[in-house]
């Protein structure tokens, strides 16, 4: 990722900061593949406002990795520079128990207006194009406190009215189906992209713009989103990372994965 022209922090750094703001002291989070941004956000939260926040790096299943340094792969051995580690089989149990993890970081090759994620197939499952890598633990979104969705791709291919294949449940098909399902999980809470942060209208359960990242125009988001996104004007600007936050992020990221 290249540096933003008009600022001295990158999109990924901003996204990590925004996500960190969603993490509260005492909570426990879990994440999977491709997770440098959530890893950074968790460690950042721990080192700032949430010292009792815990997180598991879903591949190695290390608990509170020190991010010395931040790594690109979810299963990297260096993630075991951590408070401790547990077996993967235990993490799957804890995900299923449903009251252990407050936060699940998710993503998708498609994300729809109700926050459903698709990591499996665009088009029909039998003849997909593209075929995605697969769901891993995303079906557990139905049993987690709340889901934080992040993606580097804010475009009309990713943000669609309805996912072609639901691999990670969001608010399903909207308020009626969500209510009928009576799931124990709280559903998606936020979506963060390089353009903006989005939350969900508690009535319609549809995605709405929460804040525009510095330098992004509202129309850019509307144009890049494949469904009619809810807007409540005036839309605030996303707070940029503070100098302290940037110092922390850069100290854990000598390889510049977030730059």
């Amino acid at each position: 990722m290249s540096l933003d022209q008009t600022t001295d922090w990158s999109s990924s750094e901003l996204m990590a900061t925004v996500l960190a703001g969603e993490l509260h002291d005492g909570e426990v989070a879990i994440m999977g593949t491709g997770s440098a941004i959530p890893q950074a956000s968790c460690r950042l939260a721990q080192l700032t406002h949430a010292p009792n926040f815990s997180y598991i790096a879903g591949g190695t299943c290390s608990v509170n990795p020190y991010q010395q340094p931040l790594v690109a792969s979810a299963c990297d051995y260096r993630l075991l520079r951590a408070e401790t580690a547990v077996p993967l089989t235990d993490v799957v149990l804890m995900e299923g128990r449903g009251d252990v993890f407050d936060i699940f970081f998710a993503g998708g090759i498609q994300i729809d207006v109700y926050g459903n994620c698709n990591l499996v197939a665009v088009g029909s499952w039998n003849h997909p194009h593209p075929r995605g890598p697969g769901s891993v633990g995303l079906p557990f979104l139905s049993r987690v406190g709340r889901t934080l969705i992040y993606t580097m791709s804010h475009n009309r291919r990713t943000f669609v009215e309805k996912v072609d294949f639901r691999s990670g449940p969001g608010f399903l098909e909207g308020p009626v189906s969500w209510r009928e399902a009576g799931l124990m999980g709280g559903g998606p809470a936020m979506v963060v992209t390089p353009l903006c942060a989005m939350t969900f209208n508690p009535e319609t359960l549809r995605m709405r713009i929460a804040s525009l990242h510095p330098g992004v125009e509202l129309q850019q988001v509307v144009d890049a989103t494949g469904f009619e996104i809810e807007i409540e004007e005036p839309v605030p600007n996303t707070a940029p990372p503070s100098p302290e936050q940037l110092d922390i992020l850069r100290a854990m990221d000598p390889d510049g994965l977030l730059r």
Binding site: T33, C61, S73, Y77, S135, V136, L183
Partner: protein
């Protein structure tokens, strides 16, 4: 004390992996893939009736797919993380020329538990039925009535592979194996599979194993063959020993964009070489990939 199970890699594959069998392949993402065993399977042209990956398959599955040796794939993910999609998996799936048993991580994990424990089937946590996965995989997923609540619940079929191909960092000659670093689902696969073939970085004495009895271990009596394969995870990592070879992986991803490039890769790195030669040719690269300040001890 017991007899040594160390065998040449060619014998391990030829004598244990039968054509058409259900094979589990260990490792996860770019780590601990038992690539020496995978390459040897390709050299011997063994057909795999059903291939099971950990929740996250990578090169271990993609190369076997590229070699055209897999009839059915049981997986919840095949990819190369930040390096990109799995080219052969993607191509075969988009062409419709591979049968995929689409799964999720909880089913693969619990299904192996059921297979290991002789449980006839395994109920899954409520809520998992809200993904579309069970709809496209009626062979692995079904619904049963919970006799306690009367509710209809999603359940999975047990996973009982015939052979597990696994990488362990250390093992004695009898097959008492220690997984340094993360374990992924490798121990689950060992427990659920009828046969286990281990490739190992280093053979150690039984005394060394005994000195940490609670170190994560696959006991020898579950293991059929031990193959010495130092560097045998290349181009993926072997925890506590070396990291993945990003340059080589990127080369693979570039070559494997089409069938011809995949064939070229297979010719150069599999068919025209042996594991001994492969190991020799990568020794220097692997030296450069060693974890900084890694302590094998730490991984326990």
């Amino acid at each position: 004390m017991g007899a040594s199970k160390i065998v040449p890699i060619s014998d391990a594959i030829s004598s244990i992996v039968e054509d058409g069998s259900f094979v589990a392949v260990g490792g996860m993402h770019l780590h601990n893939n038992p690539m020496a065993l995978v390459r040897e399977i390709i050299r011997q042209g063994r057909r795999i009736g059903k291939l099971l990956t950990s929740p996250c398959g990578a090169m271990n599955a993609d190369l076997l797919l590229g070699a055209g040796l897999v009839d059915e794939l049981v997986t919840s993910y095949v990819g190369f993380e930040h390096l990109g999609l799995a080219p052969n998996f993607r191509r075969l799936a988009e062409q419709g020329s591979i049968r995929i048993l689409e799964c999720d991580e909880p089913y693969i994990t619990h299904g192996l538990y059921a297979g290991a424990g002789g449980l006839p089937f395994i109920p899954l946590p409520r809520g998992l039925e809200y993904s579309d996965i069970p709809k496209v995989n009626p062979e692995s997923y079904a619904y049963a009535e919970d006799p306690f609540s009367g509710e209809r619940v999603l359940v999975g079929a047990p996973l009982s592979p015939e052979v597990a191909l696994l990488h362990a960092q250390l093992s004695d000659a009898q097959g008492n194996a220690v997984l340094l670093g993360a374990h992924f689902l490798d121990r689950s696969m060992a427990l659920a599979s009828k046969h286990v073939i281990l490739q190992v970085e280093r053979i150690v004495s039984t005394e060394e194993i005994s000195s940490h009895p609670m170190g994560t271990t696959i006991p020898a009596f579950l293991v059929d063959a031990v193959v010495l394969a130092a560097g045998g995870c290349h181009p993926t990592s072997s925890h506590a020993f070396y990291t993945y070879d990003e340059e080589h992986l990127r080369q693979y991803l570039a070559m494997a964009r089409d069938e011809r490039g995949t064939d070229e890769y297979l010719t150069r790195y599999v068919h025209q070489t042996t594991e001994a030669l492969y190991s020799q040719s990568t020794t220097d690269r692997i030296s450069g990939l060693r974890y900084e300040g890694s302590l094998e001890e730490r991984g326990r």
